[in-house]
Amino acid sequence: MTTREPSELLPLPVAQLHILLALADGEKHGYAIMSEVEAMTDKAVTMGPGTLYGTVKRMLNAGLVEETEERPDPDLDDERRRYYRLSGFGARVLDAEVARMEQLARTAESKRTVGTRRLGLEGG
């Protein structure tokens, strides 16, 4: 049982946030995580094996994700693959990070409005 507060890990590194989001709708193996991250970011982010598994290792150590049973993916081939899923703590950290980003977006929006008004650019 992880007793740490989610706020201790915030802000999350971008790679960890992407992996948490990829696992938010269920367990996935490495290739599925990579494909999901590409789809989420419109191919702006492509994770290589080194970045992906290095990040997964750190997330396992931090208790953000858990490894589930190794098995083949019926949609791909008969190779056995390691699957990962979000832990309870990981889900709480993801919620906290998303809330932090929403707050940041609201702040940025209000500042943008003020800044635009100050520069006399409002209304184009």
């Binding site: 290739y31 990579m34 290589g48 094996p49 970045t51 598994y53 290095g54 791909l76 390691r82």
Partner: protein
């Protein structure tokens, strides 16, 4: 296994061995998946470019983390070693003084012990004096342990062995039955 996979597998040597042991297999699998999806012609070059960059950046990061872990480990052993050497020097000081070697007990017993323990205590506050104390103390204590003890042990082995007849240049006589 394709030549690309073989090359990628060989390049994994850039990672620390523990990381390679745990994640080497899945990394090769992911490389294979990427090649299957995007490889072929120019695609192979693009994948290789991305993989090369990914490998260089992540291997460097993993190596640095391993070094940091080793640094913590070294730090723990460093502190333990200083304390042990200091305590051993105190013991040596007592032993030498009780044996009548008062000068020696100070030179390579008490003084190194005080320097080591004081340097250890000051290490976070006054770095330079602490470094000097620890270095001089270590040299003195090392002299006691590695020179004096070595000479004493060598003397015990040679002189004691000769006197007790356990060693010698003559053949050992068989013991007579009484």
């Amino acid at each position: 296994m394709t030549p690309s996979e073989k090359t990628y597998r060989a390049m994994l040597v850039a990672y620390p061995s523990e990381h390679r042991r745990v994640y080497g297999g899945p990394m090769i699998q992911l490389f294979r998946d990427r090649m299957r999806r995007d490889g072929g012609g120019l695609g192979t070059l693009v994948v290789w470019f991305q993989m090369g960059f990914d490998l260089a950046a992540s291997a460097f990061k993993e190596r640095m983390e391993t070094i940091m872990v080793m640094k913590n480990w070294t730090s723990r052993w460093w502190e333990t070693s200083v304390v042990l050497l200091g305590v051993n020097s105190v013991v040596f000081g007592f032993t030498a003084a009780n044996s009548g070697f008062v000068g020696l007990s100070f030179l390579i017993g008490w003084v190194p012990a005080v320097l080591l323990l004081a340097g250890f205590g000051m290490r976070n506050r006054q770095r330079i004096p602490a470094t000097v104390m620890l270095t001089v103390g270590s040299i003195g204590a090392s002299f006691a342990f590695w020179v004096i003890y070595t000479i004493v042990l060598a003397l015990v082995i040679v002189v004691g062995g000769l006197r007790s007849g356990k060693i010698g240049l003559r053949r050992a006589q068989p013991e007579l039955a009484t």
